[in-house]
């Protein structure tokens, strides 16, 4: 796995004020902390932690999916949240992966490893959490 590349991308996030960590126990995940949501007017959390699986072979393979804590009230409201794509464990918590595919026909640009990475995936997560049903 290209840990060096991921660490470099997370550093870019840190420099931009977004806290994110690489979790390497079990299935590798990137944990984005306190990502803003549009939930406050709906009585939902205004921020949430999100995990994204590190794809096997990264960066050749595209980043896909997004996970929220199991039981999060945001899960039924985000796109793909009711289409469970698996439960993963990280940071001492369980996460439910939602059917969210921005680089895979889900509305985002075609995956280009020269431009995209975990640092740019944050934009997709923010957009995802801003469009609650």
């Amino acid at each position: 796995m290209s840990w060096e590349r991921i660490e470099r991308e997370l550093k870019k996030l840190q420099e931009g004020g977004q806290s994110a960590d690489l979790l390497r126990n079990g299935r590798s995940l990137v944990l984005y902390r306190d990502v803003p949501t549009a939930g406050a007017p709906l009585g939902l959390p205004s921020t949430t932690d999100v995990v994204v699986p590190v794809p096997e072979g990264f960066p050749a393979a595209l980043i896909d999916l997004a996970g929220l804590p199991v039981g999060s009230p945001l899960l039924p409201r985000v796109k793909g949240g009711q289409n469970n794509q698996g439960i993963v464990t990280g940071d001492g918590r369980q996460w439910q992966l939602a059917s969210y595919h921005p680089h895979n026909g889900g509305g985002g640009p075609t995956w280009d490893p020269m431009r995209h990475g975990f640092h740019t995936y944050l934009d997709h997560l923010i957009a995802w959490l801003a469009r609650l049903s």
Binding site: R5, R8, E56, G57, L62, Q85, P113, R115
Partner: protein
């Protein structure tokens, strides 16, 4: 641990290999031979490296050429001004590469280090280490001796000096002057390769014996390439494949017999034994595994030429990554049958040239992101995604975000044999210095008028890492095009 002042360069327990790509060699020769034939000249250079169990592999990544006044024009030997040294040293703090001095000796003077060279190397190995902090220091000498390029080198790393044992200049064969000593005369060609020697010359046959070719994939195209290379007398073959032989492979794979399929013999074992049966003098290293797994990469970076024979997109990326970061000239191939209504309408052959300065497969628009992702998934993940795709279809949704079925690529033995033999032939052309493939990306259709030959040549994308990491070796790992999936079984050398 000795210091750099104890300058007695010896052969390391494993050979040290220096790799250079054509653009840098061209620039280097223009530079260091600018005062030829009588006076020397020099430049600093940056080097990537990989420390493998087979030896240290260095690759020239860039030059830090002298500016006006950086070298003394008034003396015949190399005299480097302090501001030049300091500039290079300070720059070294901003990149991760090794640094060294490359200089010329006058025409027909052996590239053997002189006492002045010894003083220079002692000084710079110590001086630069203050800035590079543990990276290798590399010293190279270039000369033209009897109209041939002669190169010697030594490296100070981990407290000792070692000599450069092999010099691999992309497609141009060159023999290292180990420790500055003239290479031994080549042995005459054996009778078994007499026809090849007659066609290409005795020297070409000798070059093949001194060469290493790595073949990724020992299936239809790979087994054909291996057979051709073995019969041509290539001295060392590295063969890599993760699979065992199945009955349906018998139509294509050279050397296979039904017993191999019945016993599920690994393809690399079959290939290894077949090569040894052809010529027991060939050194065969076989690995059950895949590129870019660490042990496979360790072996492949020592090869003169790398052949990609898997026709898979992730493998194509891995081959290109080796070509670009480790300067191993490569060829990748694939075949495709098309047909319908009882007719074969297309028998496509593709050969991709991947020289270190060529664009990567992303720039060449040869990669479909979802296909690569699916190739790299674990079986568990593939099964889960197929179920998700079925569920999406049941809901009346598109299955594509979950899984896209890929058509089975059918192939036949004469087709794979032809393409495998072709890339082996082009490899022989490179190894002997006799010819180059006259294309960047060849596609042809065996059943189209005049074979419908096309050559697709594109430039590297402006922002692509393939323009920036040529020769960076392990120091460019953060920009690797692909990494090995964690679920792949461990590599097994056999």
């Amino acid at each position: 641990m000795a210091g750099p002042s104890q300058l007695t360069a010896r052969a390391a327990s494993s050979p040290t290999v220096l790799r250079l790509a054509a653009p840098e060699v061209h620039a280097l020769q223009e530079l260091v031979f600018r005062r030829y034939p009588y006076a020397e000249w020099a430049t600093f250079g940056r080097f990537g490296w990989r420390d493998t169990p087979h030896g240290l592999v260095l690759s020239l990544a860039a030059l830090d050429p002298p500016g006006a006044g950086d070298l003394d024009e008034h003396v015949g030997h190399v005299a480097i001004a302090e501001p030049y040294s300091l500039r290079v040293a300070l720059t070294a703090e901003t990149h991760p590469l090794a640094v060294g001095v490359i200089h010329s000796h006058p025409r027909d003077y052996a590239p053997r280090p002189s006492p002045i060279d010894d003083d220079m190397d002692r000084y710079y190995a110590g001086y630069l280490d203050g800035f590079t902090r543990g990276r290798p220091y590399v010293s190279l000498i270039f000369a033209v001796v009897e109209d041939e390029l002669a190169v010697s080198g030594r490296v100070f790393w981990k407290g000792k000096w070692v000599v450069v044992d092999r010099v691999v200049i992309e497609r141009n064969p060159v023999r290292a002057w180990v420790g500055g000593a003239r290479p031994l005369p080549r042995a005459p060609s054996p009778e078994r390769t007499a026809r090849l020697a007659a066609a290409f010359g005795d020297e070409a046959a000798s070059r093949l014996r001194e060469s290493t070719v790595a073949v990724i994939g020992a299936g239809g195209t790979g087994s054909a390439a291996i057979e051709v290379l073995a019969r041509a007398g290539v001295g060392r073959l590295i063969i890599v494949d993760p699979d065992v032989l199945e009955e349906s492979n018998l139509e294509r794979i050279h050397g296979s017999v039904p017993g191999h399929a019945a016993n599920r013999v690994p393809k690399v074992v079959l290939a290894r034994d077949h090569v040894r049966a052809i010529d027991s003098h060939i050194d065969v290293q076989a690995y059950i595994g895949s590129l870019p797994q660490r042990e496979v990469l360790d072996a492949v970076v020592t090869a003169n030429v790398l052949l990609g024979c898997t026709d898979q997109q992730h493998s194509r990326l891995a081959v290109a990554d080796v070509a670009i970061r480790y300067l191993v000239p490569s060829l990748d191939c694939g075949v495709l049958l098309e047909g319908g209504a009882g007719k074969i309408t297309g028998q496509i052959a593709q050969i991709l040239r991947v020289l270190p300065a060529d664009p990567c497969p992303w720039c060449r628009e040869m990669i479909v992101p979802q296909r690569v992702a699916q190739e790299l998934m674990s079986e568990t993940e593939r099964a889960r995604r197929r179920l998700a795709a079925d569920a999406a279809c049941a809901r009346g949704e598109e299955p594509d975000p979950y899984w896209q079925d890929q058509p089975q690529l059918n192939t036949v033995g004469y087709h794979t044999t032809m393409v495998g033999a072709m890339i082996a032939g082009y490899a022989i052309g490179w190894l002997t210095g006799r010819f180059d493939p006259p294309f960047a990306r060849l596609q042809m259709n065996l059943v189209a008028p005049l074979l419908d030959v096309t050559d697709v040549d594109v430039s590297a994308g402006r922002d692509c890492v393939c323009r920036r990491i040529r020769g960076w070796a392990d120091q460019g790992v953060a920009d690797a095009l692909i990494t090995p999936p964690s679920h792949w079984p461990a590599v097994r050398p056999v």
